[in-house]
Amino acid sequence: MNALRDAVAPLLFVGFLLAVWETACRLNHVPEYFLPPPSAIAAALAANLGILASSGGRTLAMAMEALAAAALFGGGLALIVTLSRTLEQAIRPLATALQVTPVVAIAPLVVIWMGVDHPDRAIIVLAAIVAFFPIFSGTVRGLTSVDPDLERLFDLYGARPVQRLFRLRLPSALPFVIEGAKVASGLSIIGAVVAEFVAGSGGAQGLAWRILEAGNRLQTAKMFAAIMTLALMAAGVHLMFQFLEQRGLKWWRGR
């Protein structure tokens, strides 16, 4: 009963807000270009479903490619960095600087480097830069937070460096890596959308471009429909990674 109430309550609340929104727009004769009523947004969504879905697919694909690249470079660099303390000291400030620099600020540069004809490449690189840090720092933290007594045990039995890496440090790091990947998955979508805005061309045909395009034509209902698609997609990715995290941790811990 409680579970049912918990599930229904947010739906009812959203329904209530939509009803207020719809009524207010109709009663006050708000122009549709300024604030379309939910019914107009639904109509725009239905009319553009195909193009929004394919644009969403493009954005999602770019974000996931960026995530894969970030995992490869972030995880790899973390592995190299933890081999020596000096190396970590040397690289960490640079990695942090990269993380705190807003992606919009470096986007124009990356667009130039990747070639103005290939906005999709620039978008993937930029989204990967955004997704890089949580994976890098999660992996570094995981690799360096091994139980010191387990470490002593490996010393005691004379473990070789390879054994220590594969049988102790990598498995110890796994929960941190999964956590980092979850955070990075959300950031990669944000990064892809921001990069698409900055690239500002239709070449990549992602969701952000649909928002820009509809905005330029004052098709506000379509803008809302694109934003909704984006929100749903990001929520879907978040839920999927949360599910993967739970399953991964369950497998790791055995319960």
Binding site: R152, L153, L156, G158, Q163, R167, S172, W252, R253, G254
Partner: protein
């Protein structure tokens, strides 16, 4: 009796803490059970790590005749890898030493059976109770049939009934292969119950504050805790401990 490990006037200084141990000497004969008792922070665990060869002293000398794989340590926590099953955890020392997987798993199963954990091979550490996890940890220490077994307050996190049962189990297991055991604790009665020799250490930096030998059969017979022998030994150790604390203060 031949010496299997000894610390000769060792001192250990830590950069941030200063002197942690010493000068401290102890000689461990093969097959004997020695308890190290002392207040918290007196360097008991440091002494144990020196005996294990996991650390080097700042000054003094450590002698160890045990080869690699002949020394085993049980820590205060069970220190099992959570991502591995109980049998994989126990097999780990063998696999690190290059024993093939089939043989090491079979020996791990046998070791688990010896500590009363037959049937729990596939369980993960998170599924084991505190006492069971400590038994698995003990099985991992015994699987290599060590000549020195170093126990660093292994029962500190367990309830009284479990720790008494484990103390008896350790003594029974000792009769099978007779490793030399060094047992660190701050519980005087536990030390007297387990050991044939109790070395008391002073407060930090730990030095020897006296030594008490305990006669009597091992494993301990029922009711050993009520005998005059046991009570007298506890009194003697407690007196040493009191002197040690006073000397450090």
């Amino acid at each position: 009796m031949t010496s299997i490990a000894s610390l000769n006037s060792v001192e250990v200084d830590y950069p941030a803490r200063g002197r942690a141990l010493g000068p401290f000497s102890i000689n461990l004969a093969s097959g004997e059970i020695v308890a190290l008792v002392g207040p918290s922070g007196c360097g008991k665990s440091t002494a144990l790590r020196l005996l294990a060869g996991l650390e080097s002293p700042t000054r003094g000398e450590v002698q160890r005749t045990a080869a690699r794989g002949e020394t085993a340590v049980v820590f205060q926590a069970a220190t099992l890898a959570p991502w591995m099953s109980a049998s994989a955890n126990v097999a780990l020392p063998l696999e690190l030493a290059g024993v093939n997987r089939t043989e090491s798993r079979a020996r791990a199963r046998a070791a688990l059976a010896r500590v009363g954990l037959a049937g729990a091979e596939a369980a993960r550490p998170a599924q084991l109770s505190g006492g069971m996890a400590m038994r698995a940890s003990l099985a991992r220490a015994l699987v290599t049939e060590p000549k020195i077994l170093l126990l660093d307050e292994p029962f500190a996190a367990l309830d009284e009934i479990t720790r008494r049962a484990l103390a008896d189990d350790v003594l029974t297991l000792w009769t099978e292969t007779r490793p030399a055991i060094v047992f660190v604790t701050h519980n005087v009665e536990e030390a007297v119950y387990m050991a044939s020799r109790v070395v008391v250490m002073t407060g930090a930096p730990g030095r020897s504050a006296g030594e008490t030998s305990i006669e009597g059969p091992v494993p301990r017979p029922d009711g050993f805790r009520t005998t005059a022998l046991f009570r007298d030994a506890v009194e003697a150790v407690s007196a040493n401990l009191g002197r040690g604390m006073a000397a450090a203060a």
